[in-house]
């Protein structure tokens, strides 16, 4: 069976990994190919801070909470291996700050050591009077994606630097199943009015004395539209903006000024930090993740597509859960195509 994954961000690469893990011994031959016009370090996943945290509330999308948990537990498990460093994963604790009391977030039982902030801690952050402390995971795209790429290449997955213009293009070439992980540009392959960019801009600075992430929440401003400071293994990511409908991938100086001003208020020591670079990315925002099969009739033939896109600002957070689900859907297709998976003994 020939599988083509379109998109080489964290979603595409992890989907390829899950399919290989679960089916390489059951389907023979299994050819997996990854097609993309952008690879690490130029994908949306690469620019993101790499911080595991879902939005505070899943708005009833309990499936997404399940996938987030699956991802956290999967990454946490890897921590006990020395491989963790090569994957770009590590633990980091920090503060979620709110201007008013809020209900507990969807991730409270997923992360480690979740608790409310003490009076003393709130005094450290003037202007915020409620919040939580917990230990979460970092998964840095610029390290994780090369690790995934390496993992896949070692197992014979082929990579092609090519922009796919249509599903039909791949189907005509003999691909059996297409995994659509095209993120924000999914609309180019199939119009999706529910998919819209959530433009984000960040400033990367050198401030190695910071060892905690700080995320502020302002219900009026909306998610990620208030300051956050996320130390990484090399640089600190300072944000944030979340501009729905803004397709510009250019850094904006007004956004830079606002981000910097509010972050320095939050963390005064930042004024000594050396600014390294700005980066802009378009979060692939959707009301909920599109993770489903679609059988497209084209001419006389059918094209099997599994969509896996629309992960907004939580792609790294949810990737493994979605990848595993993608593999499960792939299994359905395999069964249907009569190539029964070998019975598990």
């Amino acid at each position: 069976m020939r599988v083509a994954v379109i998109g080489a961000g964290v979603i595409g690469l992890s989907a390829a990994q899950s399919i290989f893990e679960q089916y390489h011994s059951r389907v023979s031959p299994l050819t997996i190919e990854v097609y993309a016009d952008r690879f690490t370090p130029l994908t949306t996943s690469d620019g993101a801070a790499g911080f595991w945290q879902p939005y505070l509330y899943d708005k009833g999308n309990i499936q997404e909470t399940k996938w987030n948990k699956e991802t956290f537990d999967y990454l946490l498990n890897w921590l006990s291996s020395p491989e963790a460093v090569k994957m770009g994963i590590f633990l980091q604790s920090g503060y979620n700050l709110c201007t008013e009391p809020l209900p507990e977030p969807s991730f409270k039982d997923i992360v480690l050591g979740f608790r409310q902030l003490t009076e003393r801690e709130l005094q450290m952050f003037p202007g915020y009077n409620f919040g939580w402390f917990n230990t979460a995971l970092m998964v840095e795209g610029k390290t994780y994606l090369p690790w995934l790429t390496d993992w896949l290449k070692k197992r014979g997955v082929k990579f092609y630097h090519k922009k796919i213009e249509s599903f039909k293009e791949l189907s005509d070439a003999g691909v059996d199943v297409i995994i659509n992980c095209t993120g924000i540009r999914s609309g180019e392959l199939q119009p999706d009015p529910d998919l819209t960019p959530g433009r984000g801009q960040i400033v990367k600075v050198d401030a190695p004395w910071l060892k905690h992430w700080i995320i502020t929440h302002n219900s009026k401003a909306g998610v990620y539209n208030s300051p956050y400071i996320i130390p990484g293994s090399r640089l600190v990511t300072v944000g944030g903006v979340f501009q729905l409908g803004n397709w510009s991938e250019q850094n904006n100086s007004t956004d830079h000024e606002n981000i910097w001003k509010t972050a320095c208020q939050l963390e005064p020591s930042l004024k000594h930090a050396r600014v390294v670079e700005d980066w802009t990315g378009l979060r692939p925002v959707r009301s909920k993740v599109r993770l489903e099969r679609e059988t497209i009739q084209s001419g006389g033939s059918t094209i099997e597509v599994i969509h896996n896109y629309g992960h907004g600002g939580f792609g790294l957070t949810i990737h493994r859960g979605c990848a595993q689900e993608t593999a499960r859907l792939f299994g359905q297709i395999v069964t249907q195509k009569g190539k029964r998976p070998k019975a598990r003994l």
Partner: protein, 338 residues
Amino acid sequence: MTGVQVVVLGAGVVGLSTAVCIAESLPVCSVTLLAEKFSPDTTSDGAAGIVFAAPFPDIPLERQRRWFKDSFDHLLAIAQSQHSPDAGVILSSGWQIFKEVPATKKPYWSDLVIGFRVMTDRELKRFPDHKFGQAFTTVKCECSSYLPWLEERFRKAGGRVEQRRVSSLQELGDGFDLVVNCSGLGSKTLVGDAGVYPVRGQVLQVEAPWLTHFIRDGDGKTYIYPGVHSVTIGGTRQEGDWRLHVDEGDSASILERCGRLEPSLKKAKVLGEWVGLRPSRRNPRVERERVLLPGRRGVPVVHNYGHGGWGVTIAWGTALDALGLVRQCLKEMPGAKL
């Protein structure tokens, strides 16, 4: 009374903290800091500087709590300010883990640090050899930055610094009205305190920027302390051991023990090794006395030494105590107007 000449002996974290407290609070004093070694060559420089304490047997608990609280609050204020990177003082969260459940689950300082709680089962899962743990946020004070920062503060307050080795109080001559002794391990010979002894500690500096939490085994011998530019891993506690050179066997043991707690350390590059002698004593000596020096009536001496491995942790608190003792000495001086 004008120009009370005060000499502070020792430029480690205790000496500098005490000198700053006196110079900033008592304008009537003219303070000179005398020491043989300055940063980066003091015992304090190699210490990881995580603020964390163990109880002393004979000091009243309230005094120990005051030492800890005064020091912690002082350092926390720096960590929260724009001076944090300059002073080398940062917030640090992490875990203290125990192989056996300890008798005291909540140490005397648990309400003085931030967010102290018992670790959850899931958190303990990462440490299969350990049965109990405490999670909290404290501060880390890196003396290689903090000491120069304090020295700057000292000079701004009018303090004078002089590099000189002093082997006895007699050597000080009669230019000083009051002596403040912060000579750490040196007090063994300087003031003949047989109760002072070294506890040798060896540490490695490694490059592991992905480590953000401290991990300490409750036995105090194995610890991982991420700092601003490197991670300090250790250690050893060798009582009565005066060796200042690196022991390869200790390095191997440290790497093995720390690697078991944190497997990713096996990928860390070793940047350096360091040995320090903790200036230990049954209890720190923070008290005053009158010492008879040749040709003079009793000279007031305020002692502030013997902090063992807890120098950084209680330097500021004991410095404030020493400041109080200096004030008492000044009251008793001829011409005192305080």
